[in-house]
Amino acid sequence: MKSVPNTPQSTTPKVALFVTCLVNQFRPNVGFAAITLLEHAGCDVIVPKAQTCCGQPGYNNGLRNAAIETAKSTIKLLEPYDYVVLPSGSCTGMLSKHYPALLSDDIAWKRRADSLSSKTWELCQFLVECLDSTLPTHSNLEGKTISYQDSCSCKRELNNTSAPRQLINQLCNGSNLVELKDPESCCGFGGTFSVKYPDISERLVSDKTQDITATGADILVSADLGCLINIAGYTSRAEPVPFEVRHIAEILANNLETPSMTSGSKK
């Protein structure tokens, strides 16, 4: 695990929230849920105004130089804060793993990227491994069965599989967390992959949906909005919709007024 930077423990940590472009566009309540959780945990949450996107679409599609520019401006924007927290595994991975790799040829920038990396956290992992604070629980999901889908970035880039499960068990009183039969496999999103190869993506998400349905889950949650948009986008067309789809921050923060992601327009 990464080392926690030396910040004076007596003062409230200044946490920059990077909401990610997908949350900004499609699911703003995830950002507000994240703020709620972080404030409950005693953080001073700041949302830097000039934030946009971490640059993954360019980075993963051959625009290396443009991604370097994005990395630099994102580092500049976020380095003044004690911590940077994102409600997304893949964007966290981009900042903490891929920025340092992108900037490895430039000593000064590499140092700044490493420094940002050491204080960048995925939301759940931050709450559990970095803060270890006591958060308010709620009983709004009592009797509900919840299934958690590990995003590939959370699992493989951040080694972050226990924190989200621990939080669900601790905060959602009376809920029942069930595991997928095949938690290792990708949901088929893959960013631009889902648009470039829609039929392969469809096959993968259909397998994933079957697995989720078989658990009998009422709600599927994940820490990445990309996976959720993919799964919800596909299941929205099912009749009846087999389960609700929500970001994990929503259920942890008891931010449940917004309808499930599967309640979109139906064909």
Binding site: C21, F26, P57, L63, T70, T192, F193, S201, Y234
Partner: protein, 498 residues
């Protein structure tokens, strides 16, 4: 090449050999993968295969104390060897010669074929048996031998099945993984003239192949195998099989030819042991295969069996170009197939969609490097970057990063469509300009809130997404940034009032 006509490997005027198997069909990945998804028999075969491999591997790894340490040792060996490749190749050549064998050098697959044809003709060979060799697949050797009038028989059961079906392999260790037993039965009935018989179970199918191939082994003039490793220190080729076909191929004919690529060399037997320890566990989930054999030359005066000639042909085929390049890590590949077995895309579409010899993640890196990126530009993109291939690779090859590098190259070389380039460049420019970006996201939210405009978007812009999925609905009154700024303003004004 005409049968009977003497060939010299130096003859460069031979037309390059191309057929269904060796020519690169990767251009058609998209079409072929869509076909594969609709092929029920193929889907049935793939579903059966995938789970088994994953389970067996994870069991084999759980059975040992520290698989990560095994991986580390194997990687140490490969890193060291690649750093001193010229030295170890030289040592290997010296020692093969010391053992009474011959080493040949081929820059291109065509040259490899020509050397083999040359040896076959010198020995007046009429029939050849082959153990599994991916190098010979790179060269499409079978077609070259057949064109020269030589009867060639693949002896690995999977390779034999696809040879009968006139298909290329669809997996590097299980070439006929895409065939069901019913398909194999039909193939055997069609090609073996054995009359009425029961073939409705796998045992009967395997027995029939054994019977057919036994005579081929005994009759062959030349045996050609691949090699999993070449041992510099002893001048030996190591061949790993479960069936024993490699051993029969190497032992019964009068000539044994080993085809291998240059990066297969390792310093010594201790190094080979480190790689053996991860190879079968990653491939089939076995601690070691049934047969691990070391071939070190022709038979001696005392030997009662074995060939009287031993050749090793070393193929380069772009590998020396990968050395010292950003793709050098790919030379660590030991061809275990773990990345195929764990790849969601491979598991969905099978191997043939990839269009050349090597499928799955390793193939998506190797095919562009060996046959040209332009001819295989789909392959580096056919990955969700889920990272499972890198996780299971015993040699720690950063496959997603190598695919990303190829995508960079595609962009630099203008191999992507102008539409893609335009929209990506536009997006990346937009995120460097926060004001513009936030204006666009606001506008987009409004478009998506309007059902007529959304339908237009669905029909004309995001058609491939909408082919099976809906876009999520934003239930808020704006983007997050809009909302957040409004909230903060309200808070501030409240504070002022109070």
């Amino acid at each position: 090449m005409k049968p009977g006509k003497p060939t010299s490997p130096e003859t460069q005027s031979n037309p390059p050999i191309h057929s269904e198997t060796s020519s690169n069909q990767a251009l058609f990945f998209k079409a072929k993968s869509s076909e594969a998804l609709l092929d029920d028999t193929l889907q049935q075969a793939l579903k059966k295969a995938q789970g088994g491999f994953i389970e067996k591997r994870s069991q084999a790894i759980a059975d040992v104390e520290n698989f990560d340490s095994y991986k580390q040792q194997a990687q140490l060996v490969k890193n060291h060897t690649l750093d001193h490749l010229a030295y170890y190749l030289t040592q290997f050549e010296e020692n093969v010669t010391k053992n009474g064998g011959h080493v040949h050098w081929a820059s291109t697959p065509e040259q490899l074929n020509n050397i083999i044809l040359h040896i076959c003709e010198r020995r007046d060979a009429k029939s050849v048996t082959k153990g599994k060799s991916m190098i010979s697949e790179e060269a499409n050797l079978n077609a070259a031998l057949e064109a020269a009038g030589i009867d060639v028989t693949e002896t690995d059961l999977g390779e034999y099945i696809i040879q009968l079906a006139k298909e290329p392999p669809s997996h590097i260790i299980v070439p006929a993984i895409h065939k069901t037993r019913q398909q194999v039965e039909a193939l055997f009935r069609e090609t073996h003239d054995l009359g009425e018989r029961d073939l409705d179970n796998i045992a009967a199918l395997v027995d029939e192949a054994r019977l057919q191939l036994r005579q081929k082994f005994l009759d062959a003039d030349v045996g050609i195998t691949g090699a999993n490793m070449l041992i510099a220190d002893t001048g030996s080729a190591m061949v790993v099989t479960n069936e024993g076909n490699g051993d029969l191929t190497a032992t019964l004919p009068k000539v044994h030819i080993v085809t291998a690529s240059i990066e297969k060399v390792v310093p010594d037997l201790e190094s080979a042991s480190a790689i053996l320890r991860v190879l079968a566990r990653s491939a089939t989930g076995q601690p070691i295969t049934s047969y691990t054999s070391l071939f070190s030359g022709p038979s001696g005066i005392e030997d009662l069996d074995g060939p009287d000639e031993f050749h090793v042909i070393l193929l380069d085929n772009q590998r020396s170009q990968m050395l010292g390049s950003p793709f050098e890590d790919m030379l660590k590949c030991i061809k275990c197939g773990a990345c195929l077995n764990h790849c969601p895309v491979y598991s969905a579409v099978g191997g043939h969609a990839y269009g050349w010899v090597y499928p799955g993640p390793m193939g998506s890196v190797l095919t562009p490097l060996m046959t040209g990126l332009k001819q295989s530009s789909d392959l580096p993109n056919a990955s969700t970057f889920c990272g499972r291939c890198e996780e299971v690779c015993p040699m720690g090859i950063p496959l997603p990063e190598l695919l990303r590098q190829l995508r960079n190259k595609e962009h630099e070389d203008h191999l992507t469509s102008w539409k893609t380039r335009f929209s990506l460049k536009g997006f990346m420019w937009g995120i460097q300009h926060p004001r513009v970006f936030h204006w666009i996201t606001k506008t987009l939210r409004m478009i998506l809130a309007n059902s007529v405009l959304t339908r237009l978007l669905e029909k004309h812009v995001l058609t491939s997404w909408y082919s099976s999925k809906e876009l999520p609905k934003n239930y808020s009154k704006g983007t997050f940034m809009e909302q957040y700024q409004q909230d903060s303003k309200q808070k501030k004004s409240k504070q002022k009032k109070s």
